[in-house]
Each structure stands twice: as structure tokens, then as C-alpha cells.
């Protein structure tokens, strides 16, 4: 129990310290505030025009209000993502990985807890700043209180799945130093197949089954869709898929970490 407490304190301190560090980036937070308000305004105008031009109140079972709330949650998930693959890449480039690798903690756990506080704050900020505009145009969300915890669970697992994916990308920095191109590819896959720009329900029928089994939608579409149209059937299905992909990514990461560690070449003397 004592060791558990020490370990929890250790990683908790890492989370809190990075959070303090992030307070220095006030301007970036303000940027994010402006961005979410602008993007949500654009989305509202766009989808209002789409629904009106189609003369419908629902598309693929989603009302205009639900679509707008969906997009806010999707943007919250996307903008709150940990960018630790960039941090790993920077550490390798400037050589400070020499420090982060020689301390008595798990390297990937360090990066997880390092980014966790920041992710929570970013998500909260984006959601709270975007909400007034969304409430104004789309009204209050219709999610039932008893569905909030399951949605939060799915969102939490989405963060973890995303962390695994970006860790796989980040560890490539041990070999290639720069991971920008890999990150770009992953992000675009999330944009298209992850439901960031529009719910999977709006994709062509032939593409939807593939998009639903791939991991990309589990980090963005899944929590957002459950928030606006919760069903227990979809919840269990998503939970099962997240568990499968977490296992797959986890195994890949476990193997990759050893492989990458053996090939690490730290810059500088």
C-alpha cells in the first residue's frame, strides 16, 4: 500500500507540475478560445444551411441540434488531445531524452501523466468556451443524467486510445527524430474516418462499416455520438471495440518500445 501511495504521488506530481507549466501558455489558451468559437459558428451556419436546403429535420437520425452538439464534443476531443509525440520528438532532437529516460518511472507513463492534466484543462476550456454559442443556436443538450458517466468512461478510454496511438507515433522519433509526417497522416485519418468533420452516420453507406471497426472513430465519433444519441447497445459495442483496439495498440507499443529503445541515438555529445 505504501508503494502504491508513493507511485500515485509520483505520477500525480508529474501531472500537477506540467499543469503549472502550462499556465505560462496563456496566449495559446486564448487562441484556442477564439478558434473554438469561430469554428463552431462556421459549423452552425454550414449545417443550418444543409438542413434547410434538404428541407429535413433529421439526417441519419440526427437533428440539427444534435449535429451541432456532436461537433462541439468532437472538437473538444480533438483539441484536447495530448501532443506528447511532439514532446518525445523534441526530447530526442535536443537530447533531453537523456534525462527523461534515466529517471525511476515508466517512460510512457511519465508522458501520459505529464499530458493528462493539460488534456483535462484543454477539454474543459474548449467545451466551456464553445458551449454558450452552441446553447444559443442549438439549445441545451438532451443527454440523460444516467448516461453521463458511461459517456465519460468512453471519453476517458478514447483519451487512452489516442495516447497509445500517439505513443506509437512518438516512439518512431527514437529512430527517425521527426514524426511530423506520421502525425499528419494519423490526424487526417481521424478527420475523415474518425468523425471529426461529420458524424460517421453521414458517410456513404459502403464506408460506414469499415469506419466503425477502425480505431479512429473510437477517439472522436464514439464519445460525441453517445453524448447526443445514447443507446446502451451502441455503448457496449463501442466499449468492446475500444477494449480490442487498446489491447492491439498496447501490444504494438510494448514491442515497439523495446525495439525503439535499442535503436535510439541521442543527439549531441
Amino acid at each position: 500500500m505504501g508503494q502504491l501511495r508513493l507511485t500515485a504521488t509520483k505520477y500525480g506530481a508529474i501531472t500537477v507540475t506540467n499543469l503549472q507549466n502550462q499556465l505560462a501558455y496563456v496566449w495559446e489558451a486564448l487562441n484556442r478560445a477564439v478558434f473554438i468559437v469561430l469554428i463552431m459558428f462556421v459549423f452552425v451556419q454550414l449545417w443550418t444551411a444543409v438542413y434547410q436546403s434538404q428541407g429535413v429535420t433529421e439526417i441519419a437520425g440526427l437533428s440539427l441540434s444534435a449535429t451541432i452538439w456532436y461537433l462541439l464534443i468532437a472538437e473538444t476531443m480533438e483539441l484536447g488531445k495530448m501532443r506528447h509525440d511532439e514532446r518525445i520528438s523534441e526530447e530526442v532532437k535536443d537530447g533531453s531524452v537523456a534525462y527523461t529516460l534515466t529517471r525511476p518511472y515508466n517512460y510512457l507513463a511519465y508522458h501520459f501523466f505529464n499530458g493528462l492534466g493539460e488534456t483535462a484543462v484543454k477539454m474543459l476550456l474548449v467545451f466551456l468556451l464553445g458551449m454558450p454559442l452552441v446553447v444559443y443556436y442549438a439549445g441545451w443538450p438532451t443527454i440523460q443524467p444516467q448516461h453521463l458517466l458511461p459517456v465519460l468512461l468512453i471519453a476517458g478510454l478514447a483519451v487512452l486510445l489516442d495516447f497509445f496511438a500517439f505513443s506509437i507515433i512518438g516512439l518512431l522519433a527514437f529512430v527517425t527524430e521527426d514524426t511530423f509526417s506520421f502525425r499528419l497522416i494519423y490526424q487526417k485519418l481521424v478527420f475523415i474516418l474518425g468523425g471529426l468533420m461529420l458524424p460517421l452516420d453521414f458517410l456513404p453507406a459502403w464506408l460506414q462499416p469499415l469506419a466503425r471497426v477502425l480505431p479512429f472513430n473510437l477517439t472522436t465519433y464514439a464519445p460525441a455520438k453517445l453524448f447526443v444519441a445514447f443507446t446502451w447497445a451502441q455503448f457496449w459495442q463501442i466499449l468492446a471495440l475500444q477494449a480490442i483496439w487498446l489491447t492491439v495498440f498496447g501490444l504494438v507499443l510494448w514491442r515497439q518500445y523495446r525495439w525503439a529503445s535499442q535503436r535510439l541515438a541521442v543527439n549531441g555529445g
Binding site: A13, N21, D94, G95, A98, Y105, L264
Partner: protein, 327 residues
């Protein structure tokens, strides 16, 4: 039972380094044809380190010093050979070893950039699972030794290089490491700061038997801290002996500084003796003790004129090291 805390046997490390021809054509060609050159950074080195020993591990740029330290701290996997640090294989037991070693890697940052050093110190106390009471005492001792009390509340980004380095080194010593790996720890520091750091390191070595593994281009670091020197060049060990033996073995040259009571009337000249500087009342000479004995030179000087003061010194350690690097 062996008192060795570090054992290295046949350690080697090669890197695959990508090559690219200069210019736009070279950049385009490298897109589909990667040329790779194998670089041997460290080749078959073996040595041991006893508990409480202070070792200077030196060599010219690119010799393999930092690569060796990185293997011993577990950052790099070797291509061949074995090493044991405090009973651990560094690259396999990196996390366990982390509790017992401290490291300072030149100008690489470890303090949180936007936060005062104090915040990083507290974080390290948690990371190394220190008792907070003990941490406080340790912190106070290091703060006093490095005289950084008035820097602790300033964001690290606002500190000068020298101030930051002192805080960085203090941070590496908080958890009472049994071995400290210092890779160019005094780079960029002024004379006073260097002295403070050397004294703190010497104190830790004497009081806590902390083993010191130092790489430095500063001969002052080596002379003031280390009794043993290992020299590496082109990835191979070329010297492993005491610092005093290094000077005795490789240096026969002496420098004599003389202050005369009366002005010198004519240039001082003696075969096999080079006059480095001659003023009205002073003289600086250099000679090889194998070519002309010290007593002969001194006798000639005293025969020239009455001396007020005479100093016989060895040339700087840098010169010795420079000679060895040429091998």
C-alpha cells in the same frame, strides 16, 4: 568482495549515420536512395570504478565519451560488450538504476522551463520517492553550497546559463545518488561558480562516498576533482592511470617564473631553454627536464642576477592532454 560499482567489459557502440550529398540534387536523391555509413563511436572498452572513486573520463570531441556515459546510464543499448553499474545492467534495469544515479548532461535542460527551480526540486522529491523531511534538509544543503537561494523563485527561463547550470546540478544531487555522471557540468560557468560546484562535489565524495564519473574539457575540473584519468580517443581507451602519473609520465617540461631585484641588462639565453617572456625585472622560461636538469637552469638564473622570487611549475594539464590526443 569486489568494491567495484562499475564494471565495463568489451563495451562497443556503432551507429548507422545517414549520408546525404550537399545541395538540392543530393536532397532529392536521398528521397529514394538512402546512403548509410557505419560509425564506431566506442570500440571494445573495459574498465572498472571503485566505490567513492572520482574518475575523469576525457577525450577530444567525438571520441566516444558521451556515448559511453549514455550506455552506462542506460540510455543507449551497446552493440557489444557488457557493463554493470551498482549491480544493474544499465540498459535493462534503467528504472531501478535511476533511483541510485544522478546525471548532468552539459547544456541539456532538465528543469521545467517556465517554472522556478524550486518546483522542479519538489517534483524530483516525488519522482525519487524521497522523505519530505530529508528532502528539505538535502535541498537546504545544496542551496547553500551552490548559493542559489535567491534564484529558486525565479522562472528558469529568466536565469543566466551559469545560474541555470547550478540549479541543474543541484537538482541531480537531491536524491543522494550513489554515482553521479557529470557530462561537461561546468561548461559556461564562471570561475566562482565552477569552484562552488567542485567543492560541493568533493564534499559529497568525502562525506557520502559518492562515486564521480566526470567528462570535461576543463582541466581545472580534472585536476581539482579526479585522482584517476581515463582517456578515450577514436572510441578506444588510450590511457588509464592516476592524474599524477599522467603528469609525471607525459610531462617533463617545466615553467620557471623569476622576479629579479635589479633590472635585467641583457637577454637571458641558455641552450635547451626557451624564453617565453622577458621584462625589465621578470623572466619566464620553459624547458624539457630530460634535456637539461632543473638545478642547472636554476643555478644559471641565480648566477645571472640576484632573485627576489622564483617559481617552478608544471605546464597546464591541457597541454598534456593535447599531446595524448595527438596519438
Amino acid at each position: 568482495m569486489s568494491n567495484n560499482v562499475v564494471n565495463v567489459s568489451g563495451l562497443a557502440k556503432t551507429f548507422q549515420v545517414k549520408q546525404k550529398a550537399a545541395g538540392l540534387r543530393g536532397s532529392v536523391r536521398s528521397l529514394w536512395r538512402q546512403e548509410v555509413r557505419e560509425v564506431t563511436a566506442v570500440s571494445d572498452i573495459s574498465f572498472s570504478l571503485e566505490k567513492g572513486e572520482m574518475l575523469a573520463f576525457i577525450g577530444p570531441n567525438g571520441a566516444g565519451k558521451s556515448t559511453t556515459i549514455k550506455m552506462l546510464t542506460g540510455i543507449l543499448f551497446p552493440s557489444d560488450g557488457q557493463a554493470s553499474v551498482l549491480g544493474f545492467t544499465p540498459w535493462k534495469d534503467r528504472r531501478k538504476l535511476g533511483y541510485h544515479i544522478g546525471s548532468v548532461f552539459g547544456q541539456k535542460p532538465q528543469l521545467w522551463y517556465h517554472l522556478p527551480a524550486e518546483d522542479t526540486f519538489r517534483l524530483f522529491a516525488r519522482i525519487y520517492e524521497l522523505d519530505m523531511g530529508e528532502f528539505q534538509k538535502r535541498r537546504d544543503f545544496l542551496v547553500e553550497s551552490f548559493q542559489i537561494a535567491d534564484l529558486l523563485q525565479t522562472p528558469v527561463r529568466k536565469l543566466s546559463l551559469g545560474q541555470r547550470m547550478k540549479c541543474e546540478i543541484a537538482a541531480s544531487l537531491l536524491h543522494r545518488p550513489r554515482i553521479i555522471f557529470l557530462d561537461e557540468p561546468t561548461i559556461g560557468l564562471d570561475v566562482v561558480a565552477k569552484q562552488q560546484i567542485r567543492e560541493a562535489i568533493r564534499y559529497l565524495n568525502e562525506q557520502e562516498q559518492t562515486t564521480i564519473f566526470l567528462t570535461s574539457h576543463d582541466a581545472g575540473d580534472i585536476e581539482s576533482l579526479c585522482k584517476r584519468v581515463v582517456i578515450i580517443n577514436h572510441g578506444r581507451l588510450i590511457y588509464d592511470n592516476s592524474t599524477s602519473a599522467l603528469k609525471r609520465q607525459y610531462l617533463r617540461r617545466k615553467i620557471i617564473d623569476v622576479r629579479f631585484a635589479e633590472p635585467l641588462t641583457e637577454p637571458f639565453a641558455l641552450p635547451c631553454v626557451e624564453t617565453l617572456k622577458q621584462g625589465t625585472y621578470g623572466l619566464k622560461l620553459e624547458f624539457d627536464g630530460r634535456e637539461i636538469p632543473v638545478e642547472t637552469v636554476v643555478q644559471q638564473i641565480m648566477a645571472t642576477q640576484s632573485c627576489q622570487d622564483i617559481t617552478i611549475a608544471d605546464p597546464p594539464l591541457e597541454e598534456i592532454i593535447r599531446e595524448i590526443y595527438k596519438r
